[in-house]
């Protein structure tokens, strides 16, 4: 008579807090999650296939559209992978390298700001959203001043950079950096010690370091579990070896630690930016392009190159047949896609309210998950 069975709820793809078109098929008992199954593919655009049909430089704008809130790092990963298969990594002028680092650290801050904004609003704190967007807007203005675009930057080229820093741009970044630490303090004053915030995040979605490594989790979720792994240190690229920065790690691997990690990372990125400004001022203006062939036809072979994107390890695997100007095969290893795999494990046994916190803490961008 009383047929007890769990309720099935479709969480998304149209839902305010799935950060896009993620669909999670939930089996819930009351509010407790028995099973959470992410269903993806609603934003699939065949980016990898497209890469096979266009010349390497033409691919760069398409990389923008994967993680569309962190396009500079997407560009960086791709151009570095192509440079690696061309064997011209060492030829990139120093000014271009520093400029790339500046752009990707600005991008890291803006991506983390967007993460914090949405994560906080998912957990119900409304105000940090607007504070984060206030600072993010300034970063987007800086991007606009550099390349004219605010989101899909298309700001890097194989073999160097397309533009030099515009007049006064570096001073604007310096001014931004000077104020940014205080802004992070402001966000933290609203959340870090807030009792409700802690109750919503401490002990939620605990990810052990072993699990994290086995699932291939990278980026802040991995570091939140206490594993000191940052590709900027582990496999240094560009001018990162010269820069001083710490890798913030957590202890318990819960949502709160991942939050703390990302907050500390924003401060560290700011620290990197502050170091970059004097470095770039020492270099010759206009020295941005390596002397490489205009026609990019890499030798036969394959290469995998990965960088530390804001969300984790962003890798490009390129196979070249040595005959054409486009890749024979290009595979992208997007951090969000891999990190999202942990969601069913993390969500199991938690409440529906925690699911939104977990989706937030993994920090996914569906453009990158589905590609």
């Amino acid at each position: 008579m009383f047929d007890v069975h769990e309720m099935e709820v479709n969480f998304g793809p149209q839902h305010p807090s799935t950060h896009g078109v993620l669909r999670v098929l939930l089996k819930i008992d009351g509010e407790r999650i028995i099973e959470a199954k992410p269903i993806i593919g609603y934003l699939h655009r065949g980016t990898e296939k497209l890469f096979e049909h266009m010349a390497y430089p033409q691919c760069i704008p398409h990389t923008d559209r994967m993680d569309y809130v962190a396009s500079a790092t997407n560009n960086l990963g791709f151009v570095e992978a192509v440079e690696k298969i061309l064997g011209v990594t060492k030829l990139i002028p120093r000014r271009a390298q520093i400029l790339r680092v500046i752009l990707s650290e600005l991008q890291r801050i803006s991506s983390h700001l967007l993460w914090l904004a949405t994560h906080a609003i998912d957990i119900g704190a409304m105000t940090p959203f607007f504070y984060c967007f206030r600072e993010r807007e300034q970063i987007l203005d800086l991007f606009e001043a550099y390349c004219g675009a605010r989101l899909t930057l298309n700001c890097m080229r194989i073999g160097g950079m397309p533009e030099d820093a515009p007049h006064g741009w570096l001073d604007e970044i310096e001014a931004f950096c000077a104020k940014f630490d205080a802004a992070v303090d402001e966000y933290e004053s609203l959340l870090t010690t807030n009792r409700i915030w802690k109750r919503r995040t401490v002990g939620i979605g605990v990810l052990s370091p072993e699990d994290a490594i086995e699932w291939g989790i990278t980026g802040p979720p991995l570091r939140g579990s206490g594993v000191e792994w940052d590709l900027r240190r582990a496999q240094p690229y560009e001018c990162y070896p010269e820069l001083e920065f710490d890798i913030p790690i957590g202890r318990n691997g819960d949502t709160y630690d991942r939050y703390l990690c990302r907050m500390a990372e924003m401060r560290q990125s700011n620290r990197i930016l502050k170091q970059c400004i004097p470095l770039i001022k020492q270099t010759t203006p206009g020295d941005l392009k390596a002397k490489i062939s205009k026609v990019i036809r890499p030798p036969e072979g394959e290469v995998y190159h990965s960088i530390e994107a804001p969300k984790g390890e962003l890798g490009y695997y390129i196979v070249s047949d040595g005959k054409t100007q486009n890749a024979y095969r290009c595979h992208v290893r997007p951090p969000s896609f891999v990190n999202l795999q942990a969601l069913p494990m993390l969500a199991k046994g938690h409440l529906v309210s925690d699911l939104v916190a977990l989706i937030g803490t993994i920090d996914i961008v569906l453009g990158e998950v589905d590609r």
Binding site: S17, A125, L191, G224
Partner: protein
């Protein structure tokens, strides 16, 4: 002129209508104030396009709701679906008959000697509409919102009611007018009943499903909770009921703990007698004082909304049953001891000391965070 008909029916009706209109204007104004104030909190402007500083938004919003298409889901349980938004509205309006806005008899619609009980009884029926609406929408999110709301409102009804008991014990009456009159000759009740006042503040936020207790309509979890499937005027009815209940609870807060329409303690200041000496003007002044106090508490709602994240459902229940109810019972116990000893006035010191401690905590200089934190993100 002063026939029983006039006395018991016509005048109360006229006064109720006036109070009703004033409250509805307040509700509409509150909508604008809330959005404007949230804007200020959140480093943005808020509505500022329609009319001077966006003031015409007050009119524009209802007009928009009236003109919008009223969508009824095909699979909805029609009767219950229609009843859903109306049920919470009725008690929210009736309650205004019982609230003393100014010095009686002119500025109080009706004076009932069990006024407080009647208000509690009426306000607690509001939850039916929400459950019914959530269930009738035939939507899983709405259902969960309705269920959450039911559990929450029933749970917080208990500390809500218990926190009032201390006031009743001190004042010895359920009549709101008597409670206010007691407060002007003694201290306002928030001093001896600071714990109850705090519980009441928390419970009234929970009762109204406001942040940090806005789980029933938690946007990020349940889309919009029980009113997900409601549109146009039906949705507006839900909002109207919610804002009206917010005003009712603020009115109760002011009446029970903050001296109602008076602006004086220990018989000094603008007490009822002083106001009565001023005639009609005094009455209006008293009402203005009352409304100002109510609006201050409405601002606290907004302030909370701008500050706090949202509780989780089990934590909310935890807070209600494990903290609020024992605290309220303890408060009753302590109050009873003081009353038995005949030393009610000693309780003022509880309030003064608590406020002092809170102020000390608030104005304590905060340790400055290091500019570049170490390797481990953990502070401790």
């Amino acid at each position: 002129m002063n026939t029983p008909l006039m006395h018991y029916l016509v005048w109360p009706l006229v006064k109720f209508l006036i109070a009703f209109i004033i409250v509805q204007v307040l509700v509409a104004a509150m909508n604008w104030i809330e959005r404007r104030l949230l804007g200020l909190f959140q480093a943005r402007l808020g509505p500022n396009r329609v009319g001077y500083k966006g003031l015409l938004q007050i009119i524009a919003d209802p007009v928009k709701f009236l003109l919008k298409e009223d969508i009824v889901p095909a699979s909805a349980e029609k009767v219950a679906y229609f009843l859903g938004p109306i049920l919470p509205l009725i008690p929210a309006f009736i309650v205004f008959c019982l609230i003393p806005f100014g010095p009686p008899p002119t500025f109080t619609v009706t004076r009932v000697n069990v006024g407080l009980l009647l208000i509690l009884a009426l306000t607690s029926t509001g939850v039916y509409g929400i459950i019914l609406g959530g269930w009738a929408s035939n939507n899983k999110y709405s259902l969960m919102g309705g269920l959450r709301s039911a559990a929450q409102m029933v749970s917080y009804e208990v500390p809500f009611g218990l926190s009032i008991v201390g006031v009743l014990m001190i004042c010895g009456s359920l009549d709101l007018v008597t409670i206010v009159r007691y407060q002007e000759t003694n201290a306002w009740n928030f001093l001896p009943q600071i714990v109850a006042c705090f519980i009441f503040l928390v419970a009234m936020n929970a009762e109204n499903n406001r942040t940090p207790f806005d789980l029933p309509e938690a946007e990020s979890e349940l889309v919009a909770g029980y009113h997900t499937e409601y549109s146009a005027m039906k949705f507006a009815f839900f909002m109207l009921a919610e804002f009206s209940m917010m005003i009712v609870n603020s009115c109760l807060m002011v009446t029970l703990f903050f001296g109602g329409w008076t602006l004086g303690m220990f018989g000094i200041g603008l007490t009822t007698d002083v106001l009565r000496h001023m005639g009609m003007f005094g009455g209006i002044l008293g009402t203005l004082i009352f409304v100002t106090k109510v609006m201050l508490f409405m601002l606290i709602y907004v302030w909370f909304r701008a500050t706090f994240p949202r509780f989780r459902f089990d934590q909310l229940m935890d807070l209600g049953w494990k903290w609020m109810i024992p605290l309220a019972l303890g408060n009753i116990f302590v109050t009873a001891i003081f009353i038995l000893a005949g030393q009610e006035r000693l309780m003022y010191w509880i309030g003064i000391v608590s406020i002092g401690l809170a102020a000390m905590y608030l104005f304590k200089p905060k340790p400055k965070r290091a500019a570049a934190p170490g390797k481990v993100a953990h502070a401790s």
